[in-house]
Symmetry: C2
Subunit: 217 residues, 2 copies
DNA sequence: CCAAAACTGGACTGTCAAGTCCAATCGTGC
DNA sequence: GCACGATTGGACTTGACAGTCCAGTTTTGG
């Protein structure tokens, strides 16, 4: 059975080695988020993490394996960031706050970089089966987090019984990804705002609260 | 003033030259759609288009200029494809047909490749200002096409006067892009279907027709 | 027909980046 | 302190790919 590029090159690791590995992955994650997968060379990573080539190849079989580690790291980072405002969502109002947070983050960077996970997905999904599997898991975790919040709303009667939290979550994440891609391209938050307002309205349409149709703009 | 990478290397072109240029761009567009920008080398393009290096550099200043031409070509191709079922949209039912078309196309490729324009956007938006400008224009044309149909619906009273066709179009395209990205990653049409159903429901929410809330699945 | 310009073939260069290798050092258990 | 594996430095190899160059061919315009 294929273990996948996730496997360590070395089986055991000391504390120092673990720290080195961490430095490598974090530096790589930052560079990749800023420049993209292909524009990031191992030399860049070496320099940014103050390591040597043998260190990188001691911990990763090849660049693909390193990129898989980057996917994991970015997923953890984004998920943790999101869990702050996303799993805290208890109402439509909470969702709107999350929307505003996301828009603010995008505005701060003028859309540049887009979504760290989305960019990785576009760059790796068709090129590395291992990375793709990790990205699928990442999106699933993301959706689950949102779905749990929606389920709780449903349990409290805020969402109709007919609503499907899992499907809603997938739709919301899609809108987010699409909005971020357009925001990255146009360097404007407007598409992101419109996409998320649509998503909010969609959730609202499944709620028992009454919201005016024109949530947007 | 900057003319941008769009400019020809040569000012005038004969019929034969024009044909050669076309062969190059089309071959490049296909390869890029299949493998991505970075995984497509000029050697690949030469082979696929049966041309030589000097021919490529006769018509394009560098690879970036060629990629800009690819963006234009893909935009035209996709827009023309979409205009068939998109500008023909006269009602919510027409939109639903469009949705089904898009899902079918994605299913046929198991999501691989995602959206040709979306992939180009993710790969080039932060790397080439010229390409980004073309991509912005491409998305704008796409949205305009959809917006025009929505405006006509509005003129016929099918959409409420308060609805904003332009904003709706942007939201729909965002949902499409996000759905295609997730479909590409998960190799499933499900996220795309959910995203587009959300978009349809959003448009329906601004219509005067009455649609059941649970359009989705 | 004849120049000039458009076009083409294909070898060549320079660079850069992934991956290899080995010797040296560090750290831990015994 | 010793052995052994983990760790590290950094030079080296290999291959690939963007871009250059020039000589040759075709086409155009007059």
């Amino acid at each position: 059975m294929d273990i996948g590029k996730t496997k360590r090159t070395s089986p055991s690791t000391t504390a120092r080695g673990h720290a080195t590995r961490l430095r490598i992955v974090q530096a790589a994650a930052e560079l990749v988020a800023a420049r993209g997968v292909d524009a990031t060379t191992l030399e860049d990573v070496m320099q940014a993490s103050r390591t040597s080539k043998s260190q990188i190849y001691h911990y990763f079989a090849d660049k693909e394996a390193l990129m898989c580690a980057v996917v994991k790291a970015q997923s953890d980072r984004v998920l943790e960031l999101q869990s702050g405002c996303l799993s805290g969502v208890r109402s439509l109002e909470g969702l709107r706050q999350w929307r505003n947070e996301v828009v603010s983050l995008s505005r701060a960077r003028h859309g540049v970089g887009g979504c760290p996970i989305g960019s990785l997905a576009s760059a790796l999904a068709d090129r590395s089966e291992d990375a793709r599997a990790l990205l699928v898991a990442s999106f699933r975790r993301w959706e689950s987090q949102l779905a749990r919040s929606l389920e709780q709303m449903q349990a409290r009667g805020a969402l109709r019984p007919s609503a499907r939290p899992g499907d809603l979550a997938t739709a919301v994440v899609s809108a987010l990804q699409g909005g971020l891609l357009l925001a990255q391209t146009t360097r404007s938050t407007r598409p992101l705002e419109l996409a998320l307002d649509m998503a909010l309205a969609y959730v609202a349409a499944h709620s028992t609260e009454d919201l005016p149709t024109g949530v947007a703009s």
